[in-house]
């Protein structure tokens, strides 16, 4: 693989990884905040938080899949070079 192509693919993987990282980090922050809030909030709010956690869970699963895929891409790139 030519250097140019390699860098292109590499950057794509890094961007994707950064994106995953960023989104994971955001979710984590939100989970942190929700956990802190959960201790003191009302029952209604607790229910809302639980629902939100469900959604966050789905998002995390998507991120996990993306991360695995990206990891495979990186491995492939590594094996080619």
């Amino acid at each position: 693989m030519e250097d140019k192509d390699f860098i292109k693919v590499y950057e794509k993987i890094v961007d994707e990884q950064n994106d995953i990282m960023e989104k994971t980090s955001k979710i984590k922050s939100e989970v942190d905040a929700l956990q802190s809030e959960y201790v003191t909030c009302t029952e209604n709010r607790k229910n809302e938080i639980m629902q939100r956690l469900e959604k966050l869970n789905d998002e995390l699963e998507t991120l996990e899949k993306r991360s695995i895929k990206n990891s495979k891409r990186a491995q492939k790139l590594k094996s080619i070079n």
Partner: protein, 608 residues
């Protein structure tokens, strides 16, 4: 006597039958015969009867057969089948150990001597499997392991204990079986009675289910006695009552019931001829009385005993060589239990035993713990400084959900290059704090958990004791996501002058070394706990708290305090813990006598 049906008839000048016992004259052994039918009515085969009958391939016994003498089939290299009339269902009860495999098929038992048997002549001779396949004997374990992968067959096999080695029946219990694969392998090369050696050899890999251990322990300790116990007692009316108790039967029923209830485990407790009769009375009574205590998983006394087996062994063996033969008696076992912390198990000391027993193997320390706890209850010391419990609590469901999310986040993070950083961040919300209740026995061992001297056997024993006995002192702990204590602080409150002092912050070495933990995070959580405490305290009491300092003498979080807190200009008068020291350690007064940092001030409360 019925004659033999087979090709070559053995006449009575070869056999001699007396009282149902067959003896074959050495000079006239049927060495050329391939197949033999033993006449009906014969109950016992004498020692070495068929020894060295090298051509013998198969032999048929009548239903009357009950026992086989030693070596009766030794050196029968081609013997692969022994048929016994299936009407004698108790046959296996009297078979000696050197018969290794008995398979019952189509109304026949098939016995195979493992030493000379091959896989083919063990299993291939049996076409249909039923639930009655029985394996026994010292070396059957090897055989069993060989077929370990064949789950269908295995699910139909019951393993029976034998006098020397394989002691258990179990069925559909694969995890245990997997453990046994290794264990049995190692056992085979050693004498089972050298228990200590076995344990040492197995090391960490030896983690079978404790129920199995229990049975083994019973056996090794020699808890089986030859005869049922006869007891005599005087009734209320003055009559002498003689009772004959079959402890074997009692134990069999008892253990089976317990096991099936608790672990859904199928155990047929088979008592060999030599063991028939029952448990020794002392042990049986002890066991039945304390079964629950003995049997608490992970922390039961039995497990403690198990881990201390070496000591038990030392206590009553005279041969100090490496290969001591273990021959403990139940008396010694009970004595050991009584002499050590296991003594006096009752409702009050049970919890102390469990907590203290994890850390100390010393009766004196146990007694000290009991004393302190007794004083605590006698003096009616309040459970907390505050009237209410103060513990950060998230309900279980929510906690689980959060935990799942955090695990997922961690998984994703691990796939990233910045794994360490992500995990460290994760740990932030994993800790919780708790002010330990003053009557919690954990107070007495906290130092053990946090690598400091504030425990019953340490220089800081005064800290441990005062946390239970002094109404103005309480321990604060930080727990990780598994609820393990990873840090502690001992808070002293001067109610009159309105200040508090934490003796110091102590962190578990392992926790602070681990990547996913961070002293920063632990510090923040301790700080939060003290803030919460001060807030609650000031709502409840006057005079109000104005300041909380932390001693810097032996502080694991000194760096964090230096970074985030301010050094106190005036030293507040700390509590002198030596007042409570059982040993009277004069040299140690606490960690706050020379240098203090302020972690909370009154004005901080308004910032919350």
């Amino acid at each position: 006597m019925k004659a033999f049906d087979h090709k070559k008839k053995i006449s009575e000048d070869i056999w001699s039958i007396k009282d149902g016992k067959v003896t074959i004259k050495n000079s006239a052994k049927p060495t050329q015969l391939k197949k033999i039918v033993v006449p009906n009515g014969v109950q016992e085969i004498d020692t070495s009867s068929f020894e060295s009958c090298e051509n013998l391939e198969s032999i048929i016994f009548p239903s009357s057969i009950k026992n086989f003498g030693k070596y009766c089939f030794s050196n029968c290299y081609n013997l692969s089948e022994i048929y016994i009339d299936n009407s004698n269902n108790n046959l296996y009860m009297v078979l000696p150990d050197y018969f290794n495999v008995i398979l019952k098929s189509n109304g026949h038992f098939l016995l195979t001597n493992y030493y000379y048997a091959t896989e083919n002549n063990i299993l291939n001779n049996v076409h249909e499997y039923s639930q009655h396949y029985i394996i026994r004997g010292s070396y059957l374990a090897n055989y069993y392991i060989k077929y370990f992968d064949d789950k269908e067959k295995l699910s139909k096999l019951n393993v029976i204990k034998s006098p020397s080695l394989v002691k258990y029946f179990f069925k559909k219990y694969e995890s245990t079986l997997k453990n046994y694969e290794l264990i049995i392998e190692k056992m085979l090369s050693r004498n089972i009675r050298n228990y200590n050696l076995l344990i040492r050899q197995l090391g960490d890999s030896y983690k079978p289910e404790y129920e199995m251990e229990f049975i083994r322990l019973c056996d090794i300790l020699g808890v089986f006695e030859n005869k049922p116990i006869v007891t005599k007692r005087i009734s209320k009316t003055g009559k002498e009552i003689v009772e004959k108790i079959d402890y074997a039967q009692k134990a069999r029923e008892f253990i089976r019931e317990k096991f099936s209830q608790t672990y859904n485990l199928y155990i047929l407790f088979y008592f060999d001829k030599n063991m028939e009769g029952g448990f020794k009375k002392g042990f049986a009574d002890f066991m039945f009385e304390h079964f629950d205590e003995l049997f608490i998983r992970d922390k039961g006394f039995l497990q403690n005993c198990y881990h201390r087996f070496e000591e038990i062994q030392k206590a009553h063996t005279t041969n100090k060589g490496n290969c001591r033969q273990l021959a403990p008696t139940i008396d010694f076992f009970v004595k050991y239990l009584n002499e050590n912390k296991f003594a006096g198990i009752n409702k009050d000391t049970k919890v102390i035993s469990e907590v203290i027993g994890k850390y100390y193997n010393d009766q004196n320390i146990f007694n000290r713990a009991v004393d302190v706890s007794k004083k605590n209850s006698m003096q009616k010391i309040p459970k907390n400084i505050l009237p209410q419990d103060l513990k950060e609590n998230i309900d279980e469901n929510a906690r689980k959900k959060f935990k799942v999310l955090y695990h997922k986040i961690a998984d994703i993070s691990e796939m990233n290059l910045d794994n360490f950083k992500c995990l460290k961040e994760l740990s932030k919300s994993r800790f919780t704090y708790e002010f330990l209740r003053k009557n919690d026995v954990l107070n007495l061992v906290l130092g053990k958990l946090c690598n400091c001297c504030a425990h019953l056997n340490g220089v800081g024993d005064g800290i441990a004791v005062s946390a239970m006995l002094d109404p103005d002192i309480q321990n604060l702990v930080i727990r990780d996501e598994n609820d393990e204590i990873i840090a502690k602080a001992t808070l002293y409150i001067n109610r009159e002058q309105g200040y508090g002092i934490c003796n110091s912050f102590q962190v578990n070495n392992l926790a602070s070394k681990s990547n996913i933990f961070s002293n920063d995070m632990i510090y923040q959580k301790l700080k939060q706990a003290l803030f919460d405490f001060a807030h609650e305290y000031n709502k409840t009491y006057t005079p109000k708290l104005k300041i909380i300092n932390v001693g810097m003498g032996m502080n694991d979080l000194a760096k964090q305090l230096e970074d985030y807190a301010v050094e106190s200009e005036n030293l507040l008068k700390p509590f002198n813990f030596k007042e409570y020291s059982i040993f009277g350690h004069d040299g140690y007064r606490g960690d706050a006598f020379f240098r203090q940092y302020t972690i909370w001030k009154e004005e901080d409360d308004h910032k919350m």
